[in-house]
Symmetry: C2
Subunit: 370 residues, 2 copies
């Protein structure tokens, strides 16, 4: 094919043509129908420049990489292929938009979960903030240990201790009061090692994947063991995921009138634990349809991945493997925040795609160079 970029155009106008090279630029000549061999009059040049520029915009839009932080490796290609397959009308795997439901774990899947769950850091900060009103905590576990900075002893108090921490920090106020407390905290709280805002430690490749899915008619949900009410105040701003698409663990709520005004009071009782086998239950309660794409990073996501990928038709399972000690954290089948043991084995059995963070992502966080 002959190169059709004519001389005499401004550099900017030529830019797309030049970068595209003869193979890409040639069809534009066909489209514009301009006889390039003739001496082109000014109007034709302008017309041609317009066509080139316009086609360049279209080409850029079509060619824009939706996953620039993903290396050109198997996971990236698998994701792109799946989305292309289920959105190809009249194709064998086409899914109508209402069935395009994608579920993502949060801790360790959308943001960092090491050295401890962010919600635990929130609880610890709340206990410190509330301590002046609770002098009795000075010699009462697990509060004493938390105030002394000894999280290990605090958590060793087991389920009873954790229930007391949750009751003290996540109950006894209205849903709207709690929302404000969380919103204020998350706006300022920083990771103990990196000093970054927690919300700056979300994974840029996952933000791109969420956006790519939504651009293709998917609804994206969080399905997390974390508290629903802890996530909702910030997930829309950070991930573009609205409150009604956040499925998490819940405490019981009680409706009551306070001075005639209706409120929802957060009670110190567990209503739903959205982890492990609780995840498909939470999905059914809140969504009522089986997702077609699930993404997790631990054995707590095993049943969600099983439930999602066992459905009929096209399905996609995705597992994040934390292998990057330099940019993030490296932890494998057992770690301080849980296990990735059965889920990793199941990934092999079921053909789920495993993301090796170190190998497959060229960037981890959205802000600052990694």
């Amino acid at each position: 094919m002959r190169h059709c970029c004519p001389a005499g155009l401004r550099l900017a106008e030529l830019d797309d043509c030049a970068r595209g090279g003869p193979e890409q630029a040639a069809p534009l000549c066909v489209l514009s129908g301009i006889p390039l061999d003739a001496e082109a009059p000014a109007m034709k040049i302008r017309s041609f420049a317009f066509v080139v520029a316009f086609a360049g915009i279209i080409a850029r839009a079509a060619a824009a990489d939706p996953l620039p932080s993903w290396n050109d490796a198997a996971p990236r290609q698998a994701v792109l292929d799946f989305v292309a397959r289920v959105t190809t009308e009249n194709g064998p795997d086409f899914l109508p938009p209402e069935q395009r439901i994608a579920v993502f774990d949060n801790d360790g899947t959308l943001w960092a979960e090491q050295p401890a769950y962010v919600q635990l850091a929130f609880a610890v900060d709340r206990i410190r903030a509330l301590a002046p009103q609770h002098p009795e905590w000075a010699d009462q576990q697990p509060f004493q240990a938390i105030l002394a900075g000894d999280l290990k002893t605090a958590l060793a108090s087991g389920e009873k201790g954790i229930a007391e921490i949750l009751a003290a920090t996540h109950a006894g106020m209205t849903t709207e009061e709690f929302e404000r407390i969380v919103a204020d905290w998350i706006a300022a709280a920083r990771h103990p090692q990196t000093g970054r805002l927690y919300t700056d430690m979300v994974y840029q490749p996952m933000l791109e994947l969420l956006a790519h899915l939504r651009a293709n008619g998917f609804r994206t949900y969080i399905v997390s063991g974390g508290g629903t009410e802890f996530m909702r105040p910030w997930t829309e701003r950070i991930y573009g995921i609205p409150p009604e698409q956040v499925v998490g663990s819940r405490g019981k709520l009680k409706f009551e009138l306070r001075d005639g005004a209706p409120v929802l009071l957060k009670l110190p009782e567990v209503d739903h634990i959205d982890d492990g086998p609780g995840k498909p239950v939470g999905i059914q309660q809140m969504i009522g349809r089986r997702p077609v794409l699930a993404c997790g990073n631990s054995d707590g996501d095993l049943q969600m991945l099983e439930w999602t990928t066992a459905g009929e038709g096209p399905r996609f399972g995705l597992v994040v493997h934390h292998t990057d000690a330099e940019r993030e954290f490296a932890y494998d089948r057992a770690s301080s925040v849980g296990r990735l043991d059965k889920a990793l084995d199941a990934a092999g059995e079921h053909g789920w795609t495993v993301i090796d963070m170190r190998r497959d992502w060229n960037r981890v966080y959205p802000t600052a160079a990694d």
Copy 2:
């Protein structure tokens, strides 16, 4: 203003112009800029006809009555005014689309609930269908009474009896098995008095209201005391409300593997009763935002109406009052399916709009003349 409909156009082309009369048609002359006093050449006539026809389409779209089954009375106007106010950009009551959440009770609000809740008819039919597999029911209450057609005695067995009915008919199968059972039943089940399909006894004015709200960027939710899993199989087809926007009562679910395939088993235990004070709780669990419009028809909707209308900014409460013995049913502050007592008083106190079905709706059901 002078009438600008020119002679010589075909009747169909003139139709809109003629019906609009001089006041409506005159601005079209200004828009088209055609000198009507002059003898118009064919091209200009064609051009004018096009403008008239096009403007006619726009006028029809703008003027199309979104609530044709609502009489021109206060409730209709109040609904239209509210929707107009919250969708007027830069207006004082403008709400961004994500805040446009409308919640509707189901039984007695979107479809008929007399002489008994449809879900109870479903349970009775299921007990009849399952009876051959349960010979012990022949002398065991509440089953004996149900099989003898004596619903009054069956329900007199109180909470324990109702729990047994629910356990026998709503549990012990997977969510997908239950979905098929409900879908098959609702496709054929008919009202004992009218002989119509239950799904033909939805209220046409409410279908119009739901559609009008959605056309104006609202998301419409059902918030019902009925079972979530009982409603989801048909609400999208009948109301245009998808499964994830159905908030109802729930039984507990259990994830398990059956021959290696994951299923969700319906357990005979109550998880959430979405009635009365349970409605704001269900709303918070599943939506996580306070609605701006709520519509109900009984005291079971009181707290949902209170919670919705107590929020800041524009709010709208709507109460259906069943006053039409001829076309539907007439029942007031106390009836076999519940009470409309506190909610009716509260409507007066809070300025909620009360729909008098007999007076305010010119049509009740979508099929057949009422």
